[in-house]
């Protein structure tokens, strides 16, 4: 049975208020039956230094990604992972993490590929919980394993591959979540982040640059709906991206983590039905042969050769 919803009026204005919980609500519902709190961090040791009481840890690198191929675990692997954390198919999952929930949103996106119904984000993430002086513990829970069904991963509804992005060019908005310097091609990786060996700089032609942080307030919570609409949906003449509910949208960044954060906002807070996250992102596109790249501030045009290939396909 799903946990009750957070009735906070601040959340009610979003298209899917059931996808967010506030820190205050979570603090009151930690012992709810059928609710499991999951921490997903960039730092693989942060959970061990202290976490929300009862929370289990799922790491994007060592749990969600395969050790050899660049892909996510399969249905049976996902079933084993979630079952081992005491998560059943109808469990309410509340995700939170460091770095303003980048990895929590990424984990939420991966869980959504497997069709887990009730996945919520803790608005403001670990930072806000800590900043409010809320309780952290180091006891690691030992959940009783439960049976989670092996469900096929859906790689079409919310996930885009390189080929999908090529076919998408000129047909719908592309949102580039990286820093402006990465977008223009001035630098190949996020400032102060590991150099992951990208050969070319720039962005996918026609992509508009809206760094992920644009979507959050100072305390790391998502901005109110009206502000998000002004950023993503208002007319380009008013400084927005002009995205409408009928658009097919693709988000990308460097490896798909920051863009999961924006994917979440577009899909669940603004309610745009067709939003896919391109997890190959710049670490694939910037290394790929014969894909178009635009450098500089301007979104750029779809090259005629690409348009012709897409039309012929």
């Amino acid at each position: 049975m799903p946990a009750p919803l957070d009735p906070n009026p601040r959340l009610a204005e979003y298209a899917h208020p059931e996808r967010l919980v506030t820190t205050a609500w979570l603090a009151e519902h930690l012992d709810d039956p059928g609710l499991v709190v999951v921490e997903s961090d960039e730092d693989v040791l942060l959970y061990e230094t202290g976490h929300i009481p009862g929370a289990v840890k799922i790491d994007w690198h060592t749990d969600l990604l395969l050790p050899v191929e660049r892909d996510y675990l399969d249905g049976p692997g996902f079933a084993e992972l979630l079952g081992s954390k005491g998560i059943g198919r109808d469990t309410t999952i509340v995700l939170y993490g460091d770095k303003n929930n980048w990895w929590a949103a990424y984990t939420a996106w991966v869980f959504t590929l497997f069709g887990h119904e009730d996945v919520r984000l803790l608005d403001g993430g670990r930072n806000l919980w800590v900043a409010e002086g809320r309780e952290l513990v180091t006891d690691v829970p030992t959940p009783t394993p439960v049976e989670y069904p092996a469900v096929d991963r859906d790689d079409t509804t919310f996930r885009a591959f390189k080929e999908d992005v090529l076919a998408h060019l000129g047909r719908g908005p592309l949102v580039d979540i990286r820093s402006p310097q990465e977008y223009t091609g001035e630098r190949l990786h996020i400032p102060d982040y590991p150099e992951e060996g990208v050969l070319r700089g720039g962005h996918i032609p026609t992509a508009r640059n809206v760094p992920w942080a644009t979507a959050v307030s100072e305390d790391g919570t998502y901005k109110p709906r009206a502000e998000l609409e002004a950023i993503y949906c208002s007319d380009p003449s008013a400084g927005g991206l002009g995205i409408t509910a009928d658009d097919s949208v693709i988000t990308y960044c460097r490896i798909g983590e920051r863009s999961s954060h924006t994917w979440f906002a577009l899909r669940f807070l603004l309610g745009i039905p067709d939003v896919r996250n391109y997890d190959g992102s710049w670490t694939e596109w910037g290394n790929a042969v014969r894909v178009p790249i635009a450098a500089g501030d301007e979104p750029g045009e779809v090259p005629a050769s690409v348009a012709a290939r897409a039309a012929a396909a």
């Binding site: 730092d43 693989v44 040791l45 942060l46 230094t49 982040y193 590991p194 150099e195």
Partner: protein
């Protein structure tokens, strides 16, 4: 994988750290890394007062500043990283304990693959270990620059 010949090339204090990690199961190695992160010494006052003397390590996922100082032929490695980046602190602490007290030449001779010798690749991931490799590479360069000066 670590072979004995590679470990033998390491100075004793680095080899001991490698042995300590490899003696543990993978989950326990994470705990040991956490212990290292808690042991990262505070910066000496002259660096506290002038953090600009430390160099930012770009390969690290979290803001970390480090510097390998050569004093009378002996190296001291100093680093600072935020509390909310325990993995990075752990890496820095391993280098602070493993490099400090070595001669400049011993530091220059530490194999580049040292971070991969700790048996953390699966528990931490190779990408994250890049951060320690970056710190080690920079430490060697800083040592070389001071020898040349």
């Amino acid at each position: 994988m670590t072979d004995a010949a590679t470990t033998e090339r390491l100075p004793a204090q680095l080899a001991e750290i490698v042995d300590d990690f490899l003696a543990l199961s993978e989950p326990e190695r994470l705990q040991l890394l956490l212990e290292f992160s808690r042991e990262l010494p505070d910066l000496p006052a002259r660096y506290e007062a002038a953090p600009g003397l430390l160099e930012r390590v770009e390969e690290c996922q979290s803001p970390v500043r480090a510097f390998a100082e050569v004093d009378d032929g002996v190296v001291h490695f100093y680093a600072t990283a935020p509390q909310e980046a325990p993995t990075t602190r752990g890496f820095a602490s391993i280098l602070a304990q493993g490099l400090s007290g070595l001669t400049a030449q011993q530091v220059l001779d530490v194999p580049e693959e040292f971070p991969l010798m700790l048996g953390l690749t699966r528990a931490v991931s190779a990408l994250r270990l890049n951060g320690m490799a970056g710190m080690l590479t920079r430490a060697k360069r800083q040592v070389r620059e001071q020898l040349a000066a």
